[in-house]
């Protein structure tokens, strides 16, 4: 085995790419704030703020779902993923940055700098009948919940990472003590995440459309972040393998990641469609309004999201050969990555920009590049900090001989 490929080296070339992305993004965010004006007196650079919010949420969600996926692997004591554990860990390491961006935006929202959350406006909270009825759930209770989610997720993520790194320091971990610690942590994280993934989606994303409600919304958001995380991890693995790293990760492991992408694309479609179908069927005005705004002003985006995230991966990833073809995985992964970014755009924009939407533009891409640059930098930096292969894991050998 090639010994100089045991550790990932964050080359200056890769750094330069991430800095260029950040610079392009930063410039376009500034331009966006200068140009995002409207005659409407209620329009306060809503689109610019919504874009900044979407990027912050999307990449935070990726690292959060990666942490969930890591915890799931421990809780299920699965062996196949052991050889790619460090890649998943590296993706989770963006979580503190993502949560910081979110927190910053929440604080700015409370200070009335932006108007993403209508209920944060004291005037609306007082005079809007529906929102004032919901203020017991929002307001201070919302802030307590937000802080609790952040603390809990960060604690689990860092604990999982720390145990994994500590296990590497030992020559031999006789009782697999660190592994068992992580199994317990992973199982508890599943319990915590099962509740917080839904409630945080209601608090942070659903409350943009404060009048509307859907109990399925939490799962819809969760499946979206899960598939985004899986595509990110797959793209990262394929890229690392192309560079000559992760030599001993078998083709079957990559194949399994392809299966995950395929399966969770369907989970997303299932939840997205079920939410739509039930509301369409019941046809209650206060529920249907959500899809009516989307149908009127965002029709093209709505169909694009549906086809790119459902039909496209279904056709492209159905056969076994496609799931084992690195080019295909990279191609499909990249497209559904953007597809799910568009999905988040479709969740946030109608509640903030509404009928002022003019279609996708450089603003969306510019903001995406900014966050992507930071994300790439943080993840690759975390990847370079530890060996690419865990050392004292009871399932490592099984994983290296994984074949399906």
């Amino acid at each position: 085995m090639n010994t100089d490929k045991q550790n990932f080296i964050f080359t200056s070339k890769a750094k330069r790419v991430s800095f260029i992305l950040m610079a392009i993004g930063f410039v376009s965010i500034i331009c966006m704030f200068m140009m995002d004006r409207n005659d409407d007196p209620h329009y306060h650079s809503n689109r610019a703020w919504a874009n900044v919010f979407i990027g912050a949420f999307f990449f935070m969600a990726i690292s959060l779902a990666a942490a969930f996926f890591l915890g799931l692997q421990y809780a299920a004591e699965s062996a196949w993923s052991t050889s790619i554990k460090r890649v998943i860990e590296a993706v989770t390491m963006y979580l503190p940055y993502g949560l910081s961006f979110m927190m910053l935006l929440f604080i700015l929202g409370q200070m009335q700098v932006h108007h993403i959350y209508p209920w944060m406006d004291p005037e609306i909270a007082k005079h809007d009948k529906i929102i004032s009825g919901k203020m017991g759930y929002f307001g201070i209770f919302w802030w307590i919940r937000t802080i609790l989610y952040m603390i809990a997720w960060l604690w689990f993520t860092f604990k999982l990472r720390k145990n994994s790194l500590d296990a590497d320091k030992l020559d031999i971990d006789v009782n697999n003590s660190f592994h068992w610690k992580n199994v317990k942590l992973g199982a508890w994280f599943m319990v915590v995440f099962a509740v917080t993934s839904s409630t945080s989606a209601w608090d942070w994303m659903l409350s943009i459309d404060t009048h509307w409600f859907s109990t399925m919304f939490g799962w819809y958001m969760f499946s979206g972040m899960w598939i985004s995380a899986l595509t990110t991890i797959t793209i990262l693995i394929v890229w690392l393998k192309k560079l000559g790293y992760l030599e001993n990760v078998t083709e079957s492991t990559v194949h399994d990641m392809g299966k995950w992408m395929f399966a969770i694309s369907f989970l997303w479609t299932y939840l997205y469609f079920s939410q739509f179908m039930l509301i369409w069927y019941a046809d209650i005005p206060e529920e249907i309004i959500y899809f009516q705004t989307r149908w009127e002003s965002y029709k093209a985006l709505m169909w694009t999201v549906f086809f790119v995230n459902f039909a496209f991966p279904m056709i492209m990833l159905m056969s076994r050969d496609c799931k084992r073809n690195f080019f295909f995985l990279m191609f499909v992964g990249t497209i559904i990555f953007f597809g799910h970014y568009m999905d988040i755009i479709m969740v946030v924009m109608p509640g903030t920009v509404g009928h002022n939407w003019t279609g996708l533009s450089w603003m969306e891409f510019g903001t995406l590049f900014f966050y992507l640059g930071i994300f790439i930098y943080v993840v690759l930096n975390a990847l370079a900090k530890a060996p690419l292969q865990v050392k004292n894991h009871p399932f490592l050998q099984e994983s290296l001989h994984h074949s399906v």
Partner: protein, 183 residues
């Protein structure tokens, strides 16, 4: 012209030497007719040259059949024969209320794909009720791994040596069979 072939059972106590023996036999140009194991062994099928399953293609066709059947059924019941108006959603054409038809299409697709696959598998393996077990040595249902070979004399000697070199616990000769040439 008929050929006479020797039936050989190579019995192993572990799957690792058994797989090693299979690899050696194959590289010596000997056809491994069958391997009997107490549990599924990963990677064995490609090792002894079993071609890739075509069950996935069947599944796709069955799924498509299920989708078409469900669509036909719903179109006939809800649109063609007696257009139903449910919840203010008239069915003057199929696409009017297509979201309502999706769950049934999905279930029918899954139903037909799953049942078709299971039935195809059972029929293809001839695992119908009343089928007699075909394993030549009942110890393979307990803890032994058996390589089943049908070889001519020259190959038999080679195979015998390979099996013994790879820690076969027993090499049993189970008589000969006569194979009539088909052409």
């Amino acid at each position: 012209m008929a050929t006479t072939k020797q039936i050989i059972h190579g019995v192993f106590g572990d799957e690792v030497p058994m797989m090693e023996a299979c690899k050696k036999l194959r590289s010596a140009g000997i056809r491994v007719k069958e391997v009997y194991t107490p549990f599924p062994v990963h990677g064995l099928d490609s090792l002894i040259g079993v071609p890739r399953t075509r069950l996935a293609i069947c599944a796709f066709i069955y799924g498509l059949t299920g989708l078409c059947l469900a669509t036909l059924m719903m179109w006939y019941m809800m649109v063609s024969d007696w257009p139903n108006d449910i919840g203010g959603k008239p069915n003057w054409a199929y696409y009017f209320a297509v979201p309502a038809f999706i769950p049934i299409s999905f279930e029918s697709t899954v139903f037909c794909a799953a049942h078709g696959m299971a039935l195809t598998y059972l029929l293809r393996c001839w695992l119908i009720p009343g089928t007699k077990a075909k394993n030549p040595d009942s110890r393979t249902t307990d803890d032994k791994f058996l390589i089943y070979l049908e070889l001519n004399d020259e190959q038999s000697k080679k195979a015998d040596a390979i099996l013994k070199d790879n820690k076969a616990e027993e090499v049993n000769y189970k008589g000969t069979i006569h194979i009539e040439a088909k052409y």
